[in-house]
Amino acid sequence: MAISAQTDADAAAEAPTPGLITRLARGNIELWANLLVITWAIVFMAWQGTGFAITIGTVFAIWAILAVSLNLVVGFTGLLSVGHVGFFGIGAYTMAVLTSNASYEAARTDAIPTYGWPFFAALPVAVVLAGVVAVVVGVAFNRFRDDIFVLVSFGFAIIAFNTFLNLREITRGAFGIHEIEKPAIGGWVIDGELEFLLFSLALLALVVLVSWLVVSSSFGRVLTAIREDEEAIAVFGYRVTHYKLAIWVISAMMAGLAGGLFASWTSFIDPNSFILLESMLLVSIVILGGLATIWGSLLGAMAFVLMEEGMRFLPFIPPEYVGQARQIVLGVLLVLLMLFRPQGLVGKYRL
């Protein structure tokens, strides 16, 4: 019939995709961004050696889980949340409290209760608890949009941080929690750096897979439509608030997973890892990589980690200022990005 005849004509009319060299010559910024970050990563890791590459890889995996999960909310659904660190913290503290070492705690005067759970028992709890809190917070947040949503998510980050800081009976406040469990499967403890890296990358792969399934489904298409026009989508028969709540909770659970992983990796956490600034850096990574692209978040996380770690090697920055310098550099980078490439390294959609 007529329609199938048109299909063939269309296929014939489609121009062939230009080759790699042609695209490079044409100044394809996406391709350049990919090549730059990947080459940078390889050269940097090769130069610094295996141990450094493993550390960078693990830091990358944790940031990437956070960035991909936040992109589901910020990029794909259009809800600019600056409170993601709250769910990261809930995951981390759940892991810390449930698995911290009993004998270590018993030796302290300010001991907190210990439960002695194994990592793999605590991780699902960390994920679920982040999800449960996300449901409660999300139901309240669902009535807000746009800039008001940014403000209330900001409020959530502040409340989360203050809870970690002041709920001393459970979190030991500013002193933090030590001796957090490493993952163990049967008798095999994942405590080697390389093993932990592979484990982290496996979890990242899981998060990427779930995210990809979500965004490429019809559910993901509704999210995109919500981002573009919330009112119009309601008219077509969608209960917008349910979709927003669903993706919010999925994203928070992934952040909880990252938190659990992070706590176990560092084996010590205190509230300073969960300050608002971390959320801001995370939003920056998502924007840097590109909104509404999973690959962009991976690339953004890699670029960020390379930049952060790379600054340690700049001779003119004293080591004690590296932490502050990364914020300045990232700030300048974001301003430049907004001026010249607001869609991020590989994104197509602008905030």
Binding site: R221, D229, F236
Partner: protein
């Protein structure tokens, strides 16, 4: 299906004394109107008369203070997201296509609640047939289309719900004159070929009167005139309401 007090030949849609207030602003002040099955009904009036608010009140998008909407004889109390499944599709003002989705994906949004892929595909084919201009571009993002094509897409997206009643809010707003004609022709074609009942809010009086079976003229939240397109053309009602005369419609009745 039909309740006993409402005969099957009653109006498809009936609004009774609908009042809509946005805070202190009275957008609709007791509007009653009927839409019969198969009709094309035009809603006209100056800016701020409340034309679009009538459609929003039906869709549950406007704060209705008093009055009732009856659909097929039953009171319509569904929430906005449930109304499309009742058989009412809304094509909003400004087209509002999803620019980051492809044309086919935009159309699918119109009936994604179905959970029936075969039926979805059947409707997609039917809509493509009605709007041949969309077919060759079906995989392109909606942002790549002209305003006129986006309006066709918005109409098609509304039809994907296979509605009994199609509500069109200013379908020719901001389009070039030649495209305006095409849109009106397409609306007339939808009415003829699919027998879809259509209620259309329009500022383009000549165009909409040519395709309408009946027209309502709104003024300051009230219905100032109701009748055939010819009765609107014959009366001074439009000049009265557009020029803001004190007693709209009086001259024609004298």
């Amino acid at each position: 299906m039909e309740p006993s007090e409402q005969p099957t030949n009653g109006p498809l849609l009936r609004l009774t004394d609908i009042a809509v207030h946005y805070g202190a602003v009275i957008a609709l002040n007791g509007v009653s109107l009927d839409v019969q099955r198969g009709e094309v009904v035009a809603l006209m009036g100056p800016n701020g008369a409340g034309k679009s608010t009538v459609l929003k009140a039906i869709m549950g998008l406007a704060p209705v203070v008093t009055g009732e909407v009856h659909w097929r004889g039953d009171r319509l109390s569904a929430a906005t997201h449930e109304i499309v499944q009742e058989g009412i599709a809304f094509v909003p003002q400004g087209r509002r296509v999803f620019t980051h989705l492809s044309i086919a994906e935009n159309l699918e949004m119109g009936c994604l609640y179905l959970d029936d892929d075969a039926e979805q595909a059947r409707r997609l084919e039917a809509v493509m047939e009605l709007f041949p201009v969309l077919y060759p571009k079906r995989r392109d993002p909606a942002s790549a289309m002209s305003g006129g094509q986006q309006q066709m897409l918005a109409l098609g997206r509304g039809l994907m719900a296979d509605p009994d009643l199609l509500l069109l809010d200013e379908p020719t707003l901001g389009l070039a004159p030649i495209i305006v004609t095409e849109v009106f022709e397409k609306v007339a074609e939808i009415s003829e070929r699919l027998r879809t009942t259509i209620m259309v809010v329009e500022h383009n009086i000549k165009g909409v009167l040519d395709i309408a079976d009946r027209a309502y003229v709104l003024d300051k939240g009230n219905i100032a005139h109701e009748g055939t397109p010819q009765s609107v053309r014959d009366s001074t009602i439009l000049t009265d309401v557009f020029l803001g005369r004190a007693n709209p419609g009086q001259a024609s009745e004298d």
